[in-house]
Symmetry: none
């Protein structure tokens, strides 16, 4: 442990010379270990930044960078004038949409519940907020999809762009980044399923296009309710199509 050994060192670490790792990383790791192990429990206040400086024998800049890592991980929260507090024991900071196998129907249902929830809400917001530019981008994706299908391609890339354009029309950053994550994950499965049945799904692709058109129309009209319903219908049908592919 390069850090703790430095605690007892009488050498005030003259220069930045012979260290190996990234100083803030070491400290962040040490602190998060203390939190995970329970040495620092939720609600506790960390030592002040200046105290940590002397403890670890580093400058305040380093301590602050270490703390900023913990902050962005959601382990601690700083309150100006008061202190830095432990808010969370383990870092469930990042949400990862679990990859589910196409072959597992149960988990498909589970995943669809979340996907439908998010996408329907996003589409409803988009109906309320979409600008003419948003609408143009959505329309472009829609046409691109049609063209792709006519060109005997799957058009899944255009499909993705269609959904992404809608989500961007919410003008809500949280929705945008969450949907980006969800759809990027979901797309893998869809593509996989689709490519298995390249030959006999012409009718299904038409149905998809109709559903997309319905969403677009609702967005164009600014009809929140219709948009939400169209999105829900589309996603539920999409799930249904995947089930067909599986059979």
């Amino acid at each position: 442990m390069p850090i703790s050994s430095r605690l007892t060192s009488d050498q005030p670490r003259k220069s930045t010379g012979s260290r190996n790792g990234h100083l803030p990383d070491e400290i962040a790791q040490d602190l998060s270990a203390k939190i995970a192990s329970g040495v620092l429990s939720v609600g506790d206040r960390l030592p002040s930044e200046r105290d940590l400086c002397t403890q670890y024998a580093v400058s305040r800049a380093v301590v602050r960078e270490a703390l900023s890592q913990l902050k962005s991980d959601g382990l601690v929260a700083a309150r100006a004038g008061s202190g830095v507090y432990v808010t969370q024991r383990d870092s469930t900071n990042a949400f990862r949409f679990q990859n589910f196998s196409v072959s597992d129907l149960n988990r498909l249902e589970e995943a669809m519940e979340l996907l439908v929830t998010i996408e329907v809400a996003a589409t409803r917001l988009a109906a309320k907020r979409r600008t003419p530019e948003d609408l143009k981008k959505i329309k472009r994706a829609l046409i691109g999809m049609e063209y792709a299908i006519a060109s005997d391609r799957l058009g899944d890339e255009e499909d993705y762009q269609f959904h992404q354009a809608i989500v961007e029309a919410t003008h809500n950053q949280h929705f945008i980044s969450l949907c980006q994550h969800l759809e990027a994950s979901a797309r893998n499965i869809i593509r996989q399923a689709r490519s298995n049945t390249k030959t006999n799904h012409a009718d299904l692709l038409d149905a998809v296009q109709d559903e997309h058109n319905a969403i677009y129309d609702a967005l164009k009209n600014g009809d929140e309710k219709a948009a939400a319903e169209a999105a829900a219908r589309h996603l539920q049908n999409a799930a249904e199509r995947i089930r067909i592919y599986l059979a």
Copy 2:
């Protein structure tokens, strides 16, 4: 856009006075947006830290903290003596609920839109699927919250457990992990807001308890519609309370 406007500002932002949000967060967000949008593509070198300082008119400490966020997100990598390089375009492999500052009302609204969407859907699912054991766990958190308030504590930890117990009652792994992530982030803000007004919010805490009771009753009765409505009301009121704290 507080950042870009500052770029053209001739005022060298004298003191730390009248700004709203966390400076490094703003810059990190701006940079990651540039990366996601393709203004900076993979392999590109960012401007040097010192250049970024002048661009954003902030100190190097701020720029470094912003960059450290991007680094821990895996978007960029720094090479000493050379520069900072974009290593990844989108962080779609993981969703991170962006930190927003309590002081920024616009971003609060944005965040609440997503939080309400998810929580309401989760509560509706929970009403459908909760087992007696789930119900017991929720009840326990409810009572714990009451006890905490009576003991002159904030009870935010118990509040969190209440919501978590509900989400677990959905028995949907995707909802569980997403909500865990969202609420852990949101809790920081709530706690921060609450602690500011420890003395004069006894009436508000009572209101919270009533809202929680309404949710519990609906879950107990298995009434999906009532549960969703109670959850929506609770969250919207919670947002309203945060606004009060801000004023």
